[in-house]
Every structure is written in C-alpha cells, then in structure tokens.
Amino acid sequence: MAITKSLHKLENDLADPKNQLKILSNGIFKDELPTFAKKIAASNQFPIQAKKLEILQINVGYMCNQVCAHCHVDAGPDRKEIMTRETMQQCLDVIQKTGAHTLDLTGGAPEMNPNFRWFVEEAARVGIQDFIVRSNLTIIRANKKYYDLPSFFKKHNVHIVSSMPHYTRGKTDKQRGEGVFNQSIKALQELNKVGYGMPNSSLKLDLVYNPSGAFLPTNQAALESDFKKALQEDFNIQFHNLFAITNLPISRFLDYLIASDNYEDYMYALVEAYNPEAVKSVMCTNTLSVSWDGYLYDCDFNQMLNLKVASNVQHISKYNEDLLEGRDILISQHCYGCTAGAGSSCQGTVAE
C-alpha cells in the first residue's frame, strides 16, 4: 500500500524515538538474541570510539517531495523541520575549519530547503575534497524551478548520490511511490546530459541501492554490474558506483517490519550476518551527523533516534573536533544493520 503521510503526521507511536528504542531493547533481545553491546564486547570492540573525523554529514531538513516506505528519516511533504540560514552559517564556519575530506548534504530532499543554493555556493567555495549532495532524483523533475539543478550541481562540482532501489519500475515504485521510477530515469538522463556519471567524467554520479523489503542486500559489486547493464541497455544511462545499503530497523522501516510480521526474522538475519570486521570501519567512527537544528549525532540513524553525541559538545555552535574525537559511540540494536555481512554505511559496504 502506498504511503502518503509521515509517521509524525499520523501520530503513530513510532514517531517517538523512545518507543522505537524500547522495541529494539525488549522482546527477542531480552533472552533470545544478544544485544549489540554484548556482541561487540565478545570481539573486544566495546565501546566503539570515534576516530579522526573524515565525513561531515549535514541534514538540512526532513521535508521531501516523496514518502518512501523504508525512509529512516520519516521524511515527506508534511515534515516542516528545515535548517535555518543561521544554522547553515554555523555549519559553514565549521566547514571552513574542519579536517574532514567529505561534506555530505542530506535530508529529506535537501533541494527543498529555501537556502539550499546559497548554502551549496558558500560551501563549494571552501574547496572541500568531496562535496556530496544526496538527491532523490525526482526533485529535479518535480517543478520547473528545479529543472536547472543538474547544471547548478555541475557548476559547483557537486558529487551526486541518489537512491535507486531497482532497475525495474515495479520494485522502485513500490518502495518510493507511483511514478518515481520514470521520473528518476528522466532525471538520470538529464544528469548524464551535462556530463554526470559518464566514464572518466570528474562529475561523480553514484547510486544507492537498498532492498525493497525485509531482506538484506547482497554483494555490492554483483548488484552494481546488474544495475549498469540494465540501465545502459534499457535507458542508455551511465553512472559510476553503486552503494548497497542495509535498511536499519528504525522509523518507517521498523513500522513496516512489525506490521508485516517480519521484525523477528529480520533481526535474526541481521544478528546472524554480524561481521566483526565491519565494526572496525563502521561509519560512526569517522562521520558526524548534524541535524536541521544544529545538534550533533554519531550518524543519521542516531539523529532520528534522538541520540545526541556523548560529548560536552552537542551543538554545531560549540563545535570542537578535538573534543569530539575519541567519544564513545551511542549504540542500540539498530546498529546491527551497519555490521551485517560486508557492512553498510552511507558510502556502501565497509568490509570484504
């Protein structure tokens, strides 16, 4: 069934992160399955601690033109949380002095923030090595005012990372909404037209695959090759890399798992696929996530669970990279999503 409203708008119990964390800490994790803390302790990896910052991920708001079935942000047109220009300025002050090599803008649909273009222009001026915008593709086709986004991104040498759950219409629309596949295809063609994703092009275009249901992603390289073949043959579309991301059991995806009676099997599958190697490079060790209102989190998932960093510095206005380094990462059972199989992060798999 197509989803049209956020859990927040529906006043669903799971809109409250406390209720999500309660579910993740009870039930099967009381006696059947080990908690994430126990599991990592067994391989002498507790607590996970932040290393040197490499990726600064900024969530500029939860508003989105889509309402995806799996969305961990619970984003949608009815979400009004939007980063102000003032907070963006505080972020820019940090971007200017950070040692991070990657700046990663996400949302919602980040382009829907009224100050998005100003922010991109200012941030691009700093000359950070890799400047990512996570674009849902359909926004480029959603309204005339967004039609020039491919040229805008090109002008500022932005690296585009976009979600594409499958190379067939059926699976894509089921997860992301009716008509999303066709619009995404058009947007990808527009991006190709200005040079994005072409072989040897410095304009990077990567796709994100996440499973459209209660199962884990398989081998990233095999999926990338299937996607490349199908998108090239069917639509003459090219892209650079495919990142396979595991759906974490929080927010809308948690709601789906429970409603479809898949929650226990999914958690068993995550725990069974636990890979201690993936813990070593899990993204919270080199990433910091900033919310629309300027608070700091170990990752975008912890942001949605309202688990602020365990540090004296919790807001971008008080940012101090040295103080944040070495902090203990806050964990719960959702973290199994990042350590399953080859691991999962916003940049795809993390282990062999």
Binding site: H166, Y167, T168, G170, K171, Y209, P211, G213, F215, L216, P217, T218, N219, A222, L223, D226, F227, D265, Y268, E272
Partner: protein, 111 residues
Amino acid sequence: MAKTYYDPADLRKFGKITEWSEALGNKFFEYYGKVFEDGALSAREKTLIALAIAHTEQCPYCIDAYTKDSLQRGITKEEMMEAVHVGAAIKSGATLVHGVQMMNKHDKLSH
C-alpha cells in the same frame, strides 16, 4: 493450539543439526557454502536453480530461503516465476515421458 509438522522458525535453527553430529554437519555446511559460490555458474544462476528445485522438492524451508535469496540478489519476480515453471515443466515432462512406458506395456500386453 494447532500443531504442524513445519514451523517457519525452524529454518533459522538449521545450523543446530551440527549439535548432534558435529563433524558431518560441519562438512555438509562447508560443502553447501562452497556449492553456492561464484564458479562456472554465477551465484545468481545458482540461486535460480535452487529456487526451481525448492519447488519440485516441495520444501517449504527451501522455498522461503531461496525466495529471500532471490530478492537479495535483485532477481525479479518474473525471473523467479519462470524458474519455477522450468521446475514444473521438468516435473510434468518426467510424468508424461513415462507415458511411453505405459504405451509400450499396453501394446505388449494387447493383441
């Protein structure tokens, strides 16, 4: 409470068969894992073969496991159903080809 021979939750306990015969169980799982690795056939092709056989063997655990495995590998439902038809075609063909034996026997016994 209704009791059934098959419980979906038993599938995740499959590994426990090693508890009663460790050496043989481990050998089996090692062999099983090896079989499904990329080789002359891709792991994707092997999944589709397994899915078809899961149906001809009518093993509910295997059907659950290889439907999920197919989804994980990005295999479409059209590909999955075609694989099941391959299994069904072999099953029905295997039934019908015995019709020749019936015909032979019939003719031998008849004037």
